[in-house]
Subunit: 279 residues, 2 copies
């Protein structure tokens, strides 16, 4: 029976020795080591432990089919961006950098004609065309690439957050490139927005003196046979919060210009460069 | 903007620099350092991260008014016992050692006469008298000490787990000592029991090849003016699982004998020694 703090940690690690799956054993033993090291380092009190239990419980209770408070927590603690860096830091400086997924992705967005609009609900956003070429790292266009895009409306909200106000597929769409690799779609300019702040994550941001804002961006998942799937954002260079995005999602290479075109429509021209898979 | 894993961790720590409460700042920055160190060390994959998000969400959804799955998780990861050691490891080798609270404590148990029974529902458990003296570390009896006791029935369940089957106050009670510090109550012998295993914690125990059993014990919270409150168990020396209690709650000094008395009733005689507060 363990008699002191370090013996206790050793005993917990020993109990995990028989984990059949070696990777689960590795992850769980590392988790226990780091969790115990945290508690020992800060000398976690009974009351703080109970506060943590209640915080995690409230975070779980806030989660439902359209709200994922644990992803928000992971995002605001920088864990999501760290996992992104661990898994997707490319040795290839030419490929488009990935960033975090965020909690608002909805699968099965409608297929749309190349060049079509994803706006299904006019709330006064600035008309914008997003366009470019999906290409490989040598510059060759990629045919049959699928772009899955989603972003928020001019009121700051994603359609999934406003089932009563916005059509479910507003500002979402899938596009397939032709032989020239070209893509384009009409939309409105994305705007900065606070992450959902009426739950435990919003409370923690306030308690730690942090703001709740994300820099303006649109999301893109881009896939093509033979290439590493890409999950990324395009950020608006004129947005606030580029330097303090509350979920640590901004990378300098993902910032793009939204430039006024001749007809008053903004143009955001951004090529998407995919790395070949297994390279 | 952070470019690599360590820069990202530094950036998250910087964002927490403005936390108004210095203790919250210390705890949150340590949490981020250890959480990020864990993810870096195991090279946490996207899928494993998502598995973790789903696991925490399911754990939160399992919590309700009578089920606290996060406490169970903390217990089975040894965190609860570690926090107990951090806060209640006594320099005084004479005082009764504390152990974890567990998830089944219910406040406001009925006051009972000293010597009375806490059995309100006969399910065939072995009749037992638990008795002893509440005293200080010099051996003097403590008057007006309050013992708040609770334990499971012969079927393995606490009353709070079986609102349909057991009276709510079955095997629970509060007792106040007189001038002689003596305490005693009638009950049934506690039995080993599996912790609730129909949720995420049970799944994790199975996935890591661990059993779900706690050694047989009864719980006691003991308080008295001028003394440090004590939260402890009395374990049955004949119980299985003393060496492998799944929540790491057993301490050798808390194991007691349940000895047959002349009338066939078991007797568990255990003095409770409280340390003076502030000593």
């Amino acid at each position: 029976m363990p008699m002191n703090e370090l013996e206790l940690t050793d005993e917990v690690l020993r109990r995990l020795d028989e984990t059949p799956d070696p990777r689960l054993r590795e992850v769980m033993q590392a988790l226990v080591r780091h969790l115990h090291a945290f508690a020992r380092e800060v000398r976690l009190t009974d009351e703080e432990w109970m506060t943590g239990i209640r915080y995690l419980t409230a975070t779980g209770h806030k989660c439902d089919e359209v709200r994922q408070e644990f992803i928000l927590l992971s995002d605001t603690l920088g864990l999501s961006s760290l996992v992104d860096l661990i898994n997707h830091a490319s040795d290839n400086p030419v490929a488009t950098e990935p960033t975090i997924m965020g909690p608002f992705y909805v699968p099965d967005s409608p297929w749309r004609e190349m060049g079509a609009s994803i706006v299904e609900f006019d709330d006064g956003g600035e008309p914008t065309v997003v366009t470019g070429v999906v290409r490989d790292t040598e510059g060759a266009p990629i045919a049959d690439a699928v772009l899955d895009v989603w972003h928020n409306a001019a009121n700051g909200f994603y359609a999934v957050q406003q089932p009563e106000e916005q059509p479910a597929t507003n500002l979402r769409g899938r596009f397939r490139t032709g032989d020239d690799g070209h893509y384009s779609f009409h939309t409105v300019r994305p705007v900065p927005y606070p992450i959902p702040n009426d739950g435990p994550v919003g409370r923690l941001l306030r308690d730690t003196g942090r703001h709740e804002w994300r820099a303006a961006h649109l999301h893109m998942k881009v896939t093509a046979d033979g290439f590493t799937p890409l999950n990324t954002h395009i950020f608006d260079r004129e947005s606030d919060y580029l330097e303090s995005d509350t979920v640590f999602g901004v990378k300098g290479s993902l910032i793009a210009d939204f430039t006024p075109g001749p007809d008053g429509v903004l143009v955001c021209e951004t090529d998407i460069v995919l790395a070949r898979s297994g390279v």
